[in-house]
């Protein structure tokens, strides 16, 4: 089966090639690679372009290379088989895309002329074994499941300027909270709806305008994690500090220009997150600006430098005298992704947190990961510095994580399948006035050795 870009190129080449005679060729044709059939895109092209075109007419299929007419003709069965195979391909070019490109392009290689659909299935799992030790002789070894998710995306292109779809994602959670004993059949892992939303994206020239509605993903995490390749072992500092929930009920309007070089997200959500219903009349209004001043297509994968900024006017909790407690956020992040290394830094300031409107808290995170032996063995490190209460000295929490990782399938296939094993160490330290036991930081300081598995897969079903 052909891989992503070659298969897609082959399909497009077949679409514009003349009909062939019904009889099979007298001898099998020589193998011809898709690259030989189709002219490669320009080196600075941001992506293999399968999204609708900029002008007012439906896109014309790309021209085949001059060698194509000389190819031996294919039988209808072969053409049909190749077409079916190509249609299974995903628009996840290993040289271009790390995460989804919504709203600039769908996951799938939809017919650029419209009237096409696809269905994908993806799964993600973070699991591991860890040995934790705290002062006072407290130690524990345990296996843990940090994430188990199954997602599906249905895409439909009713018109060449419009992509629509529905996404649902279920995730495993412990049925009892972190310090709770009230669960289902003890504290079973149960599946719940993690995301469920409809989406549409209109393409006008170099601009794509997207709309999502429902239980939508947090765009800040979605955007910043495009430059964070070791989520399986450590979350972003802002997510670890619970300053952002991964999804919320509401809607997002996204304007993306020039294939994601500039993106503006405006979100309107309840603000209570996945696990709580709306408690007040106020809505969280969030603006995120992402700029990617450097974006190159390289043989091993894309190179992208991204700058993100966020402001959220948020509310949380019951409305007292008509106004719910403030829950604002201000954030900035800088991320770099490349075939050799990922790196980034994030700062989030929470103005109102933990249902305390007057509390100001912040989180600073930095991370880096790089291959030592491409593309199978790498090293990673991350640091998170959280101040639980900015106004009180000594309320810091520092988390340092470092380790090695190994990939089974290599970096180029990361979008379609990844099996990665991490082995690392994590230190969690508390300031003198921080933590659950102010005055006794050693009571919460934790040393942790981890073996962590990341397994991800993405398939096109239709």
């Amino acid at each position: 089966m052909p891989l992503t870009t070659p298969g897609l190129a082959l399909l497009l080449a077949l679409r514009q090639s003349p009909e062939v005679p019904q009889e099979p060729p007298p001898s099998p044709p020589d193998p011809v690679t898709p690259q030989e059939r189709v002219a490669p895109p320009p080196a600075d092209s941001p992506t293999t372009d399968h999204s609708p075109q900029a002008d007012d007419s439906p896109p014309a299929p790309p021209r085949a290379a001059s060698a194509a007419p000389a190819d031996p003709p294919l039988s209808p069965e072969e053409r049909a088989a190749l077409r079916r195979a190509a249609r299974r391909e995903l628009l996840l070019d290993p040289e271009e895309v790390l995460q989804n490109q919504w709203p600039a392009a769908p996951y799938c290689n939809l017919d650029p002329r419209g009237k096409d659909a696809c269905l994908t299935l993806d799964s993600e799992l973070f699991a591991g074994f860890r040995r934790s030790a705290q002062a006072g002789g407290r130690k524990l070894s345990e296996f843990a499941l940090d994430r188990a998710e199954l997602g599906t995306q249905l895409w439909w292109r009713p018109h060449w300027r419009l992509d629509t779809g529905v996404a649902t994602r279920i995730e495993a959670v412990r049925s009892a909270g972190p310090q709770s004993l009230i669960g289902i059949d003890g504290n079973s892992l149960v599946m719940r709806l993690g995301q469920a939303y409809g989406h549409a994206a209109a393409h006008v020239g170099p601009i794509s305008i997207g709309l999502r509605g429902g239980l939508i993903p947090e765009r800040w995490l979605e955007q910043v994690e495009k430059g964070h390749d070791t989520r399986g072992v450590e979350a972003l500092a802002s997510e670890r500090a619970l300053m952002f929930d991964r999804a919320d009920l509401g809607a997002t309007l996204t304007i993306s220009g020039w294939k994601g070089r500039v993106e503006l997200d405006a979100s309107f959500t309840n603000g209570e997150g996945r696990a709580q219903q709306e408690l007040n009349r106020g809505k969280n209004t969030t603006l995120i600006l992402s700029v990617r001043p450097l974006r190159r297509r390289l043989p091993g994968g894309p190179l992208a430098l991204a700058i993100h900024g966020l402001y959220r006017d948020g509310s949380y909790g019951l409305a007292l005298a008509g106004a719910a407690g403030r829950n604002h956020r201000v954030a900035a992040a800088l991320t770099l992704q490349s075939p050799w290394a990922f790196a980034g830094a994030e700062y989030v300031r929470a103005l109102g947190f933990n249902a305390r409107p007057d509390l100001v808290s912040d989180a600073l995170g930095a991370w880096a990961s790089a291959y030592l032996f491409r593309n199978y063995l790498g090293i990673m490190a991350s640091y998170a510095h959280i101040r639980q209460d900015v106004a009180t000295p000594g309320t810091r929490v520092d988390v340092v994580t470092a380790g090695l990782f190994g990939d089974v399938f290599g970096y180029r296939l990361r979008n379609r399948r990844r099996v990665r094993l991490h082995a690392g160490y994590q230190y969690e330290g508390y300031g003198a006035a921080a933590g659950p036991v102010p005055g006794a930081p050693e009571a919460a300081t934790t040393h942790r050795f981890m073996l962590q598995l990341t397994a991800q897969g993405l398939f096109r079903l239709l």
Partner: protein, 477 residues
């Protein structure tokens, strides 16, 4: 340059903008709703009644706000976040009562018939730093003293802390004297428990003999209260039994069939006790657990006679004291809340057999603690203390003695129980307190002096929210 200045100005403006209104009141309202959402969703009338019950005084409000106390002590920005110089890593996983306060002290009759004193509410029991309990107990005496209109609230808070550290020192040195009936208040409690227990007063209160059979009594054992906070009003049960529904009866029969397996000594259950003679839902008990389903079950006693029947209490238990951010290894040391409450009660009381009928049973996700409703188990009651003080039977010195004894009871409970990591806590506690006993007492008292006014102000905020939003506190569903 201009852009940079603009950006900095914007960030400065955002950082400087203050939340509107009273942020503490907003936090209080939201967290009270979150802590009671299970009741607001499943039994709204009882949830509203709980908030109404909490509004009846500063002390009931204090009893109903353990969750706020926990957040204030442990969370960033918490109002009670005062560092301790006397907690160590070895005393951060001590078995805790969770909610020790004067009204949670009571009497028990052990399997050999001996009456003893101890804490009697383990709904919030968990593992954590010992000062969480010590501060709660001292704060409770301070709040109680205010409620009783005593002259020196701080004196009683200090006495509780002093009793604690003195008892830890005495236990460590092997010189501790046993806390039994010293003092007039606890002495009276034991005397009344012995009398009422022998008289089987619980049967007189909650059952009746009708046509030669003992049956549950349904109705008001004590008259209810007319609660009003204009424009909101309701009738508030104080001690009332309602007939159990058919589905409740089926479920409780299942619970009672499973509960004997969890008894410390199954032989404590007399033959014939499997015969269920009556069931009723009890309303009006407690404050924090006011809205929790609570049932009384009448079982056949050792003989077919009418005077030796057993009266049990089955109470649904929920999660204990949540200590935000506290990492426990493992995080879930008990299978469910019934197991937690019973195991820690046996661990923390003067003996594991303080209630031979103590056990638990589960029905799906619902777990119930089962206990003997015998009047040998009698608790301190602030209203009765007020009566005795008003009558001149007791005075403020007696309250101070009580506080000292309560501190000693807490010390004994902590010291004799095993920490989550295994060893008995006494050596770690003694090492943490060391020779600076006065330092811990002063530290605890300083916390109480700082935090008690916040609790008082919070109570007023709570009354304001009740007046504005009613007893649902504005919960929209």
């Amino acid at each position: 340059m201009l852009r940079r200045c603009s950006l900095l100005a914007l960030l400065g403006l955002l950082a400087a903008c203050d939340p509107p209104g009273d942020p503490r009141a907003a936090w209080l309202q939201t967290t009270l709703v979150l802590d009671n959402q299970v009741f607001l969703d499943t039994d709204p009338p009882q949830a509203r009644a709980k908030f109404a019950r909490m509004s009846l005084g500063l002390y009931p409000y204090f009893r109903g706000t353990l969750g706020q106390y926990s957040r204030d002590l442990g969370e960033g920005g918490g109002a009670g976040r005062r560092a301790s110089d006397h907690v160590t890593a070895g005393t951060a996983d001590v078995a805790l009562i969770g909610d020790p306060h004067p009204e949670n002290i009571g009497s028990f009759r052990r399997a050999d018939g001996e009456l003893v004193l101890g804490f009697n509410d383990f709904d919030a029991a968990t593992y954590g730093p010992y000062h969480f309990d010590l501060r709660r107990l001292s704060l409770g005496f301070y709040i109680a003293a205010i409620e009783l209109d005593l002259a020196e609230p701080a004196r009683h808070a200090e006495a509780a802390a002093a009793g604690y550290v003195a008892e830890i020192a005495a236990l460590s040195e092997g010189t501790a004297a046993r806390v039994t009936d010293e003092g007039r208040i606890l002495g009276h409690l034991l005397k009344k428990a012995a009398e009422d227990g022998e008289a089987r007063e619980e049967l007189a209160d909650y059952t009746r003999v009708v046509a030669g059979e003992r049956r549950m009594f349904f109705g008001e054992v004590e008259p209810g209260l007319a609660w009003e906070m204009a424009p909101h009003a309701m009738q508030l049960a104080t001690d009332q039994l309602l007939p159990a529904s058919a589905s409740e009866t089926r479920e409780l029969a299942l619970l009672l069939a499973r509960w004997p397996e969890t008894l410390l000594d199954p032989a404590a259950l007399p033959p014939g006790a499997e015969q269920l003679k009556g069931l009723g839902r009890r309303l009006g008990a407690g404050v924090a657990s006011y809205a929790a389903p609570r049932y009384y079950a009448l079982l056949e006693g050792p003989t077919p006679g009418l005077d030796d029947d057993l009266l049990l209490e089955l109470k649904r238990v929920y999660d204990g004291a949540v200590m935000p951010g506290l990492s426990r290894l493992p995080s879930r040391p008990f299978a469910d809340n019934g197991a937690r409450v019973v195991a820690l009660q046996r661990e923390l009381q003067p003996g594991p057999d303080c209630d031979p009928l103590l056990g638990h049973a589960e029905l799906g996700a619902a777990t119930f603690r089962v206990r003997d409703r015998s009047k040998f188990q009698r608790g301190l009651d602030l209203e009765k203390l007020a009566e005795k003080l008003a009558e001149g039977d007791w005075n403020e010195d007696d309250i101070a003695v009580l506080a000292d004894q309560a501190g000693r009871l807490l010390a004994r409970a902590h010291a004799g129980a095993r920490r989550q990591s295994g060893p008995v806590a006494l050596p770690s506690l003694a090492a943490a307190i060391g020779r600076d006993q006065a330092g811990l007492v002063a530290e605890t008292l300083a916390f109480v002096r700082d935090y008690a006014p916040i609790v008082e102000a919070d109570y007023q905020r709570f009354l304001d929210v009740l007046t504005t939003h009613g007893p649902s506190l504005g919960y929209p569903h």
